[in-house]
Subunit: 239 residues, 2 copies
Amino acid sequence: MSTNKGKLSLKTAEIEKISHLDYFNIAVSVDCVIFGYEQNEFKVLLIESDLEEFKGKLSLLGDLVRPDEDLDSASYRILKERTGLDDVYLQQVHTFGAIQRHPSGRVITTAYYSLVNINHHQLKISDNQVHWHNVADIRAMAFDHKQILDTCHEMLRSHIMEHPVIFNLLPEKFSLRLLQDLYEAILGVQLDRRNFRKKISLKDWVQDLDEMETDVPHRPGKLYKAKAKMSNGTITGVI
Amino acid sequence: MSTNKGKLSLKTAEIEKISHLDYFNIAVSVDCVIFGYEQNEFKVLLIESDLEEFKGKLSLLGDLVRPDEDLDSASYRILKERTGLDDVYLQQVHTFGAIQRHPSGRVITTAYYSLVNINHHQLKISDNQVHWHNVADIRAMAFDHKQILDTCHEMLRSHIMEHPVIFNLLPEKFSLRLLQDLYEAILGVQLDRRNFRKKISLKDWVQDLDEMETDVPHRPGKLYKAKAKMSNGTITGVI
């Protein structure tokens, strides 16, 4: 900034860079909080940290952003590398920049959440260090990853009340019982069955398929499909 | 990552840093989108860019993050330096990391919005390059700042429907007419007076002060105050 009030003295970007060289020594990473749902459990895809400093601790799936990629591209790359999926809903949530958060130096990380159908036929967890974990069971993690996980979980709790994102976790056809189970697992509360069905009906997010469940250990329920889903930041469908 | 499946070979943070030195050459900035409201106009605090490359273009108020500060601290510092205020609502919105977004090199920026009462007695815009601009009038800006402004404006539109953030832009006592004017200015739409009052009443965000406006060029309205406000990311008040 010029100190010559009333007049702006301009500088070139090159001169600014030279005067700020000390600032250009940060690395930026992205961390993907990949959520899934299976057998009544709300899960997240984690790996054991490969750093001595966090030996035995669980870590989110992340990587440093390469010089030739932007933040979203880095997230999609990680998802593709880790799950085989490339058409997945990703949502940037928050950037974490505490000074000492990474033992390798200043690394600022941008967190994304992603919602994956665990039984998707293209889901390929080829790396045998990577496993699904029940979100409710997770305690300490490497780095500030527990805080990042909690922040993304909280954001998801808020999003599922406002937008049709929850369907990205479900198979194409689902019962309202399954949908309610999933809401309860994410919100961590029990919901009243009748109230839940009234609210879902008001939102107009699902369509009755005129089909019934088969092979279930309870009275078969009607099957529904989502009228709209979130896809890469935009809602697709009829809403 | 180890390629030795089933066994994890650990490395130290120091070794990881050495193998990733090329990644530690990014600078991180924060940009503050400081919104205000005055005379029926929804405004934002901007400065003319001091870079030759963006001569004459308007720019957000931002700065590089210093080695000894985290992202939130950098935002509060900028707000304090630029407005004199240190008790202001700040909300992290989104991080922008396009490869070529800054001519000085790779600079990734985290955007915050802030809501300021323009008539606040402590507001001191001492720098005479810094001015309030009507948001609706802003066209091209320096860097990707128009995109950042639009993203923050969109986030604010969504937040004012869900949380009691809008009161941070208003004086302590306000009429429902003023509140509706402000909603309309932010949303960019006209609202039906009766519907608006019904919705605000349902939200239970305001309290009737049993006082009337004075010195207004229209029929004096009742004065209200906010029951709750957002303050540094948390809601304070009685809600």
